[in-house]
Subunit: 132 residues, 2 copies
DNA sequence: CTGCATCCTGGGCGATACTG
DNA sequence: CAGTATCGCCCAGGATGCAG
């Protein structure tokens, strides 16, 4: 409501970088495509897991998708796959150092998500009076 | 290749938060769903634009999708819509302060994307030596 | 110029069953 | 237990045309 500056939202941004910037974002989102990868990375950020554990903890994902995503992520060097035991076979997945660099990014995503949820809740409350 | 620590990737993470964390990420990605919103926000991070300008600068997007995404984002309070002139009608879009908070997040996405592109390029160079 | 309605296709994703 | 194969749904999103 405060009629603040009408400036470019984020200072320090030069329009000349715009194209590159967008392309770079696109590169990242390309790797993180689909419905599940970010969730899987988030989970693995809390420690390595076996296939079946991930399957249980990522609610809603099917076996096919998990396999596919995992394979895809391995090819992109986001996770490391290790066969633990042969009988019965079991496989461990963990983030690569490379992918660990993504965790702070994902954390900030989460941060914003929390605030957003707050805002949405507030909105619904605003019907009667302003409440804390 | 360095056999580093086998610890939990990111210290300071408690498993008890895992569920909440993932949910929060999901909330954000829910708002940012689809193929275009992040790109649009990135662009608008470089300054307000008119509908037709965005249409031109976001390569590949169709008019229908732009309208749809814009409306959706307005409902989520990510952007502000302002009618500039009536004849011919023209509309300006800009990020809300609320959404500006997302820019640093997107920036880090871009940051990682740049590094990732580097890595991919490196990989192709590495053909000569041992490959699986 | 901005924005909506309609039609249509591709592929993301789920369910199930099967192999090693 | 880990992963693959098959089938099919469904909807994001492209193309086009119309309206204010």
């Amino acid at each position: 409501m405060e009629n603040e500056t009408e400036k470019v939202p984020c200072e320090g941004r030069e329009y000349s970088n715009c194209g590159k910037h967008i392309a770079a974002v696109h590169d990242t989102m390309d790797v993180l495509n689909g419905k599940w990868k970010i969730t899987i990375i988030s989970l693995l950020g809390f420690g390595k897991r076996r296939y079946s554990e991930i399957l249980k903890e990522v609610t809603g994902i099917s076996g096919k998708m998990l396999s596919r995503e995992l394979k895809d992520m391995e090819m992109n060097l986001l996770i490391k796959r290790t066969v633990i035991s042969e009988q019965p076979i079991s496989v461990m997945y963990e983030l690569t150092d490379y992918c660990v660099d993504l965790l702070p990014v994902i954390d900030s995503l989460a941060e914003w998500g929390k605030r957003h949820r707050q805002c949405i809740v507030e909105q619904f409350k605003q019907e009667p009076v302003e409440v804390i």
